[in-house]
């Protein structure tokens, strides 16, 4: 297990290899379908992004509501492939570290290699366990989206595996084709 701090610089990003098991700590941001649509709309209109993309990790999740006294509810990953068309547009804007679950399409993988980006995965359906690795959570942008808003999370030892690295290696193989 390799300890990684977020945000992450380019050298660290490029040093990751498919199959590496990571423990992530630091600040990450969440966003899923609806938030991605807004992020792409903002990019096209030359508006401010919801957070600084360079070095940041976006985690595809829509947490369940936090119970009193807890920072967050269950917060496992959602299926990443739905974010493919948005991610292809956001990678050139600097959003090059993504965390979700499951394989992604060929167009995304080609764009990822071109942008030297990385795609990490975490086990789906373990939202209760993962909620224990979140120290703090706050709404960062698009609060009207509820569970789909962009949240700023402070995480510690959040488990992840490198699925696609910046050099084209792919832990899933091409079973999805």
């Amino acid at each position: 297990m390799q300890k990684i701090t977020l945000p992450m610089n380019e050298a660290t990003r490029l040093s990751l290899h498919a199959g590496d098991r990571l423990l992530l700590s630091g600040v990450i941001y969440t966003g899923r379908d609806a938030a991605h649509q807004r992020m792409v709309d903002a990019l096209k209109k030359h508006e401010e992004p919801p957070f600084a993309y360079d070095g940041s990790l976006i985690y595809y999740t829509g947490p369940s509501p936090a119970k009193p006294g807890r920072p967050i509810g269950a917060c496992g990953p959602t299926s990443s492939y739905r974010m493919d068309p948005f991610a292809i547009e956001l990678m050139p804007a600097g959003l090059k570290i993504m965390l979700g679950k499951g394989p992604r399409g060929k167009a995304f993988r080609d764009a990822l290699v071109k942008q030297s980006a990385v795609y990490l995965v975490v086990t789906g359906g373990i939202g209760a366990l993962l909620s224990k690795r979140v120290l703090a959570a706050a709404t960062k942008s698009y609060p009207d989206l509820g569970a789909e808003a962009v949240y700023r999370l402070e995480v510690v030892d959040f488990p992840a595996v490198v699925a696609y690295d910046a050099h084209g290696a792919n832990l899933y193989g091409d079973i999805d084709e």
């Binding site: 947490p63 369940s64 509501p65 119970k67 269950a74 086990t123 359906g125 909620s131 224990k132 832990l171």
Partner: protein, 279 residues
């Protein structure tokens, strides 16, 4: 005559809705633990260990097993000797709204597939009601997550496709889904009936006990063949390879037209959540 009060029904249903999301059924846990003993791939073992640990944390600390607390799906069997002096569907929806709001469960329903505005209480539920003889009201509930639901498929095969055609369609569906539906999965297979009947009995198959087997010998044979074929795909936990692609296969069948062989494959993620209530 079994007269059921509305307040009691709403309270009892709200309780099983919340519990289903927090307390994974013991038979599902047993399946996961059994698969951990058989799995040979190290990464896959690590994933299965996380899944087993997660459901313990969920139960002990009352956190949902998964943040996707699903669409509320009910299968209701209404006895002819049960008297309800209220709108059953409205009462079930009220129970869902209470459980998802007070239980801090995620509200995932949008009011129209294209408007996509959240209804904010996870209603409406999807409700299937069947009338039966007797004085009992049986309510089965499953919160159905979208990750696995989105990978489900239906095919209108021809009679000539037969047993082998069904196996091929199911295996192709599982392979195409890969890691997306959060394997190890449970497969609800509906064969026969019509286009919609196959889908409904496939969903109902997912509410069967994980350690039961089909009543009809032919369906049992299909369950066994599919279990072996799916676990030979090497999709593995979360699609990252391994021996454990499915935990169980449940086949429900129904008579069908001389020209038809409908096959519905409803995929369930490893969090095979469901609860039952008899009033």
């Amino acid at each position: 005559m079994n007269v059921i009060a509305r307040d009691r029904l709403v309270a009892e249903v709200a309780r099983i809705v919340e519990e289903a999301n927090i307390d994974l059924d013991g038979k599902a846990v047993a399946c996961l633990k059994a698969s951990l003993l058989k799995e040979r791939n190290e990464l896959a073992k690590g994933i299965l260990e996380e899944i087993v640990l997660n459901q313990e944390i969920a139960r002990n600390e009352r956190i949902p097993i998964c943040q996707d607390t699903g669409v509320a799906v009910f299968f209701v069997e209404l006895g002819n000797d049960v008297k309800l002096e209220f709108d059953l569907e409205a009462a079930l929806n009220e129970a869902v709204a209470i459980a998802y709001t007070d239980g801090f469960l995620r509200k995932s329903m949008v009011r129209h597939p294209l408007d996509r505005v959240n209804t904010k209480d996870n209603t409406p539920a999807v409700i299937h009601v069947k009338t039966v003889m007797g004085s009992a009201l049986r309510i089965r509930f499953a919160p159905k997550g979208a990750g696995s639901e989105n990978m489900s498929k239906i095919a209108m095969l021809t009679p000539a496709d037969g047993f082998a055609g069904i196996v091929k369609f199911v295996v192709d569906t599982v392979k195409a889904a890969g890691g997306r539906p959060c394997p190890p999965i449970v497969l609800g297979i509906g064969i026969g009936g019509t286009f919609e009947k196959a889908a409904v009995i496939a969903k109902e198959a997912l509410l069967r006990e994980l350690d039961d087997e089909a009543i009809l010998p032919r369906d049992r044979e299909l369950e066994e063949a599919l279990y072996q074929a799916v676990n030979a795909t090497n999709v593995g936990p979360m699609g990252l390879s391994g021996d454990t692609t499915c935990l169980a296969v449940k086949v429900n069948s129904y008579p069908c037209h001389i020209a038809s062989l409908p096959v519905a494959v409803n995929i369930q993620c490893h969090a095979a959540r469901h609860k039952e209530l008899i009033l």
